[in-house]
């Protein structure tokens, strides 16, 4: 259980760092909250979302299917991390 939580936290941290450093170029201020709305909050636009998907595929060795690219899966860092964990377990 503890290991599962650690994995999830590590995934969230990696995604959060990518968004803060590579997408927001450090302009996002303090560390991102994993529950912060990314799309409706304007933290990612459509191109940033493509960058994020490619990052997830390369960093976590997963494939994100087109059908999975829906706002519900990408609304927060926590939701994205859950998607990554789910894809890795398959």
């Amino acid at each position: 259980m503890a290991s599962g939580r650690t994995d999830a936290t590590a995934i969230e941290d990696a995604i959060g760092r990518f968004i803060a450093d590579d997408l927001l170029l450090g302009s996002g201020g303090a560390k991102l909250d994993p529950q912060e709305p990314l799309i409706s909050g304007g933290l990612v636009d459509s191109l940033a979302l493509v960058q994020l998907i490619v990052f997830l595929e390369e960093a976590f060795q997963i494939t994100v299917r087109d059908g999975e690219v829906v706002p519900e899966n990408f609304q927060t860092i926590r939701r994205i991390a859950a998607l990554v964990a789910e894809r890795r377990s398959q």
Partner: protein, 322 residues
């Protein structure tokens, strides 16, 4: 839902005019484009007083020193003629061969494009709503044998669009786009952008989109830069894409030349290596400077004077570095 608007009737008029020209023998089609554009542009200028006033106010406010009506009015009239020509040529594109297009359009400094393509990292052509822009350039370069795609709103009816716009105007207007590679700007993520560039092809993006959406997105997706001495928010997408994929960015402008218009390909922009907002703004500023110099030289050719209602309110007289 609104059934029909004044703009729908205008677009239908251009589509009807283009159909009329298409019915002419091939040998005379190109000859009549300019005179027909002048006639349609004059009618448009006189009939659509509200839009003419908007264009006039935008030009006077943004270009500042054009305070006298005698200076600005010929430019406003020329603006409508240019818009009429663009719309007419766009509607005529399916009926024009490379030979036909070559009679009023030529490629200038194509060696910059060849050199960039040879690097095999894809090429981002960043243009503006200037001269014979968008689909005309796409079709011309495509007919010349280049593999390119354009990022465009492509027939997506805006919220509140009329019934005639949805059911008649757009289907007719965009029917011939099946000949083209268009990546629709829908607001959803489009992986095709990346795949297309990774295949070493050309992606064409308009760098001066000033719609409401462009104004609301936060930094670094939209950044304020100086254009024509004003502060204006521009989309950083083309430059973020270029940095990510290490693709060269070549600005292009369609400028007047003795035989009509030239698609002038500029040298690749020297992109800042800084992974920071200020580095991204420097890239955007280099493009804005080029655009500003072209608009200042050929003001009537910039379609944005009339595309956005209240352009002068978007282009603030404030410092873009804030």
């Amino acid at each position: 839902m609104t059934v029909v608007t004044r703009d729908d009737l205008l677009l239908l008029g251009f589509l009807a005019a283009a159909s009329g020209v298409r019915a002419l023998p091939r040998s005379v089609r190109v000859e009549c484009i300019d005179s027909l554009a002048a006639m349609l542009g004059t009618i448009w200028y006189r009939a659509d007083r509200r839009r003419a006033q908007e264009v006039r106010s935008n030009m006077q406010e943004v270009l500042g020193d054009w305070s006298s009506p005698s200076q600005v009015e010929p430019v406003v009239r020329a603006y409508f003629k240019n818009c009429a020509r663009s719309m007419l040529v766009n509607a005529l594109l399916p009926a024009l061969s490379l030979h036909d297009m070559g009679r009023f359009l030529r490629l200038e400094s194509g060696e910059h494009l060849e050199t960039a393509l040879a690097q095999k990292r894809g090429v981002i052509l960043v243009g503006a709503h200037f001269g014979l822009h968008g689909y005309t350039v796409l079709m011309f370069l495509q007919t010349l044998g280049y593999h390119l795609a354009i990022v465009s709103v492509e027939g997506i009816a805006p919220d509140g669009a009329s019934l005639v716009r949805r059911k008649v105007v757009n289907p007719v207007r965009y029917a011939f786009h099946s000949y083209m590679n268009v990546i629709a700007r829908t607001g959803a993520p489009r992986r095709e952008l990346v795949e297309w560039l990774r295949q070493g092809h050309i992606l064409m993006i308009m760098g001066d989109v000033l719609d409401a959406n462009a104004l609301t997105r936060p930094s670094p997706y939209v950044l304020p830069v100086t254009l024509l001495g004003r502060c204006v928010p521009l989309n950083t997408g083309p430059f973020r894409l270029a940095r990510w994929l290490n693709a060269p960015v070549l600005p292009f402008f369609v400028v007047p030349c003795p035989t009509g218009f030239a698609v002038r390909i500029e040298r690749p922009l020297p992109l800042s290596g800084e992974t920071s907002v200020s580095g991204l703004r420097a890239d955007l500023t280099a493009f804005a400077d080029l655009l500003g110099s072209h608009v200042a030289r050929y003001p009537a050719l910039w379609a944005n004077w009339g595309l956005y209602s209240g352009l002068r309110h978007v282009m603030h007289a404030s410092d873009s570095s804030n």
